[in-house]
């Protein structure tokens, strides 16, 4: 699946998107896999209350299932307007 990062999450991880091979069943599972990769991921995902997630371009919860999801995005709370 495609995993996208925006704003300071993108800066901390150092890339805007990547392809991830995963069997993760929920967003939380995916976060656990990413955290275990490298320090920069662990730093970006240290505090989930500071993050929001979208699954296939719809806002979702961290316990949302990933069955069939093609795109997961992580970002800080939005500041539009």
């Amino acid at each position: 699946m495609d995993v996208l990062y925006f704003a300071w999450v993108r800066e901390r991880i150092g890339l805007p998107r990547e392809q991830v091979e995963t069997q993760a069943r929920t967003v939380n599972d995916l976060v656990a896999e990413l955290r275990a990769r490298e320090e920069r991921y662990a730093a970006a995902f240290a505090d989930l209350s500071a993050l929001r997630v979208a699954v296939d371009q719809e806002l979702a919860d961290f316990d949302a299932p990933l069955d069939g999801a093609r795109e997961v995005a992580f970002f800080p709370p939005m500041t539009g307007g």
């Binding site: 704003a7 371009q57 709370p77 939005m78 500041t79 307007g81």
Partner: protein, 148 residues
């Protein structure tokens, strides 16, 4: 209903006039525009850079506009939101709501703004000569959604 997500500046007067001219059945048009503020205390904003999530942005704005149309009787809705680099004083975005009566237009414009602030995937970064800071979301903006 028109949703535009664009990098280039827009002319607020031209957009507002074109929107009002296109209405046959509206007695009220309310517009709001957001402007890039300088930093408090004249700290010297060099530029603001807005990042967004292409694809999701258009969907989220379309959903917010559609929600407004189910809550109020509206003749039309316009949302324009920019991304990329801008300087203090530039227009960031605008919404316009047209309705037969002004209350619906005012309420819808406020609703659109409240949702745009916290539910449309845009992120602002303020740059000074010392570096850049991401603008933090405010609790008041999240709380503002509860009144709808």
């Amino acid at each position: 209903m028109t949703i535009r997500v664009q990098e280039q500046p827009f002319d607020l007067g031209e957009e507002a006039n074109a929107f009002a001219d296109a209405q046959d059945d509206a007695g009220a048009v309310v517009t709001f525009t957001g402007i890039v503020r300088d930093l408090p205390g004249g700290a010297g904003l060099d530029r603001m850079v807005i990042e967004h999530y292409p694809g999701m942005t258009e969907k989220a704005l379309g959903q917010i506009a559609a929600d407004a149309r189910t809550r109020w009787e509206l003749a039309d809705v316009l949302i324009i939101h920019r991304y990329g680099e801008m300087r203090a004083g530039e227009r960031i975005m605008m919404v316009a709501a047209a309705a037969r009566h002004r209350k619906n237009a005012f309420d819808a414009a406020e609703f659109l703004m409240d949702y745009l602030k916290s539910r449309a995937p845009f992120w602002k970064k303020e740059h000074t000569t010392d570096g850049g800071d991401w603008v933090a979301a405010r609790d008041e903006d999240e709380d503002a959604l509860k009144r709808w």
